[in-house]
Amino acid sequence: MGSIGKNARKCLVCGRKTEGDEFCEAHKKTQQNVIQGYEQWTRALKISWEKYLDAVAKNPNTGLWVREIVDYLQKRRSAYDQPKYR
């Protein structure tokens, strides 16, 4: 059966094969961008993590993978997903 390794998992967003991570390379990097983006947003204005996710989801300049990650995070909405500085 293929070459799926012991640790192989599927990306929780797109279903692509990953080497043990919950996200594929693209979505992992995008998730980091979303977290870094929040730091920049909070420097610019007062905004909560939830409102930030809502604003990013609605923004027409938001990238497709960012939308997918935001959608995933909004659906999960557990403490685990939210950055420590919330």
Partner: protein
């Protein structure tokens, strides 16, 4: 003394060019046309000597695998063969080659008169070598940049004593290296996918295609993972003599909301003061003459023509003797083309007469040349000939653009004046900008392709008090970098020195044909993404710009005799071998990934958007197994969750539009009925207000 019936055989690149050459060389300008098995050739009489001009059909010979199976790689054995022996659907080539071979029998002189560039030199060489039985060493070369009678006669008078062998070798090597890369890598990809999924889909990549697609993929990744960041700008207007003028804040962007609010608070509705007035005059030089990429980007900017379309039109204009040879990278116009004669001929057209009269006051005609040079051809210029019959709309646009640009490069510099007024208000600075043209110069010649947006300000004095009528903050967000379009991608390929002026547009077309990109915005498909990712993962060198550029430089050295064909070929093979071995050893996993990519790409092709009914499924364009009718259905149907379905027009090509209906926000599809020219956008929501309104209108009309 010449043998009876003996003749000089001239090889031209295309039938139109053959006719022009024959007309120019025939003493009476009326060569005899013969068509043998659909192959035309022309007989001209020149000072009692007989000349036969026969056209090629582009390349008549191509590279093919010398021996071995077709579904196998690596392949390093190759030979040049007639195209009909290597390609399906090239039967006419056999007849063409046989006709040329027959005309060769009584020939006692040979001339390659194909376009003077790598491809033209190679086309002629291959015909002389294979169809004319090794005449390549006896043949002469005709060099010209326009198909005008005068230039063709001069070129025939001053024939080069032998073929341009360095150019031929460079062309040969380029084709051979590209074939080695293309055939091996494309076969590796296709076979890996086929062996895994047992389904056959052509996948391709190449020496230039791989890095070009990578540019697009890298940019697409940036766009897809882009998080917009908020910033603020200040929109302000002042009132002067009853007229409102927009002024610019000292900072282009403000990083925090609080600061933006502070500025608005301090300035809105308050009085400011003129602190400084600064006038500047500057000369704007005329544009440089068109090389092919310059023409392609300008035509995309002005008319939206993709590069391959512009090139095709420019070639037709060249064959109609209206413009010079377009595949040039030169931005120089040497005096030998005779500027005065071209202007005199163009002046016979009323529109251009007026333009050209602008130059009459100029003593010496000197073009504003660019830096780029091409040893083979000058920049693109109009020959002076005017269209004998009405041109098709696209041709007319490009012809007019070439003429006006040619006139503009000889124009006087434009003289412009700018005024910058500095305004102070409560410690903040704003600027009011005015600009006007003092002397039009070349701008007049290049209209309507250049516009000067003037802002003329009323008289204003230092210390004057001014009301800031409206100052407001604008909430903005940073944007991702723009996607490449065919024109900007072509420019990037040129800047990165990959591909040649003759092949770049073709490579961009291949990306579309392979379904790696879609739309004019060059949206990378999932397939394009996966193929690039897989190549990068398993054979990164293939998509490396550096490798391609390095090979490009070495092939350019062959053109000037500083590099050997054999060295470049050996090097290409020794680089390919380990890559292909590695690829083969991991064929199974690559095949699995590629098959998944193909499956996803197919899914992307039929996915219309999210299901507005169940909100978890995706709407797909499907075909009923029972009735073979196409319809839109929800992917959750198979999980027995959602039975949503919508009918679609039959006998029509239906594609996802990736846009929402402006009235109901449902996803839309593009429908093209076979046999009809225009496709249309369809909202399939039966309850869409737009659809209901349309039906009501119809009912009223019928009543």
């Amino acid at each position: 003394m010449e043998e009876k019936d003996s003749h000089t055989l001239i090889i031209a690149e295309k039938p139109d060019a053959a006719l022009r050459i024959a007309q120019a060389l025939d003493d009476n300008g009326k060569p005899k046309k013969t068509v043998k098995k659909k192959v035309p050739y022309f007989e001209a009489k020149r000072a009692n000597a007989k000349i036969v001009v026969v056209p090629a059909l582009g390349h008549l010979y191509t590279i093919t695998q010398e021996s071995g199976e077709r579904d196998h790689y690596p392949v390093f054995n190759f030979k040049w063969a007639p195209r009909h022996m290597a390609e399906r659907g090239a039967k006419q080539i056999e007849v063409w080659i046989n006709t040329i071979s027959e005309l060769d029998k009584n020939a006692n002189g040979f001339v390659n008169a194909c376009d003077y560039d790598i491809e033209g030199s190679l086309i002629g060489y291959m015909i002389l070598k294979y169809a004319c039985d090794n005449r390549e060493n006896d043949a002469k070369r005709m060099k010209y940049s326009t198909l005008t009678k005068k230039e063709l006669q001069r070129a025939y008078q001053d024939l080069m004593p032998h073929l341009d062998f360095p150019l031929v070798t460079a062309g040969r090597t380029r084709h051979e290296v590209d074939w080695l890369y293309g055939i091996n890598l494309s076969r590796a990809l296709t076979l890996a996918a086929k062996n895994w999924s047992k389904k056959y889909v052509i996948l391709s990549t190449g020496r230039v295609q791989g890095p070009t697609l990578r540019f697009l993929v890298d940019r697409e990744k940036e766009i897809r993972s882009y998080v917009p960041i908020p910033f603020w700008t200040i929109k302000a207007s002042i009132e002067l003599n009853g007229t409102s003028y927009e002024v610019q804040f000292e900072k282009e962007r403000i990083e925090t909301e609080a600061e933006a609010d502070k500025i608005v608070e301090a300035c809105n509705g308050k009085m400011g003061e003129v602190k400084d007035i600064e006038f500047k005059e500057f000369r704007q030089m005329p544009p440089v003459p068109f090389d092919i990429s310059g023409l392609q980007s300008e035509s995309y900017r002005l008319f939206g023509f993709i590069p391959s379309r512009t090139l095709g039109i420019a070639e037709r204009l060249y064959l109609a003797t209206l413009i010079s040879y377009p595949r040039t990278s030169s931005q120089k116009l040497p005096p030998v083309i005779n500027y005065h004669e071209i202007f005199a001929s163009l002046s016979q057209d009323k529109t251009y007469k007026l333009l050209i009269s602008e130059l009459a006051t100029k003593g010496e005609l000197k073009p504003n040349e660019g830096e780029k040079e091409d040893p083979a051809h000058p920049a693109i210029y109009p020959t002076g000939a005017l269209p004998e019959k009405p041109l098709e709309a696209g041709e007319q646009k490009i012809f007019d653009l070439v003429v006006r640009r040619f006139v503009a490069v000889f124009g006087e510099p434009a003289l412009k004046q700018t005024v910058k007024i500095t305004l102070n208000i409560n410690g903040y600075t704003f600027y009011l900008h005015g600009r006007r043209v003092l002397k039009e110069g070349w701008l007049k010649c290049y209209a309507p392709y250049v516009k000067s947006d003037e802002v003329v300000l009323p008289s204003i004095e230092k210390g004057q008090k001014i009301l800031f009528k409206e100052v407001a903050r604008e909430d903005r967000f940073t944007s991702p970098p723009p996607r490449y379009n065919p024109s900007s991608l072509l420019k990037l390929m040129e800047d990165q020195a990959i591909g040649t002026k003759a092949t770049r547009a073709e490579i961009i077309d291949t990306l579309y044909n392979r379904n790696y990109v879609q739309d004019e915005r060059m949206l990378v498909t999932d397939l394009g993404f996966y193929v690039t990712d897989i190549l990068e993962k398993y054979c990164g060198k293939i998509v490396s710009v550096d490798l391609t550029r390095e090979l490009e430089e070495r092939m350019e050295k062959i053109e000037v005799g500083k590099e050997e064909r054999e060295n470049v070929l050996d090097d290409a093979i020794s680089r390919l071998k380990p890559i292909l071995e590695e690829f083969k050893s991991r064929e199974k996993e690559i095949g699995e990934e590629l098959s998944e990519a193909i499956r996803r790409a197919r899914m992307q092709e039929i996915t219309v958007g999210s299901c507005p009914i169940c909100r978890t499924g995706k709407l797909l364009i499907l075909r009923s197994r029972k009735t073979r009718k196409q319809f839109i259905g929800c992917s959750n149907y198979f999980n027995k969750i959602c039975k949503t379905g919508f009918p679609l027009p039959q006998k029509a090509l239906v594609k996802p539009l990736r846009k929402s209906c402006p009235r109901c926000q449902w996803p839309m599809v593009l429908v093209k009925i076979y046999g009809r020219r225009r496709p249309w956008n369809l909202c399939f929501n039966p309850d869409c207000p737009a659809r209901q309104e349309k039906e009501k209108r119809k009912e009223r009309w019928e009543a």
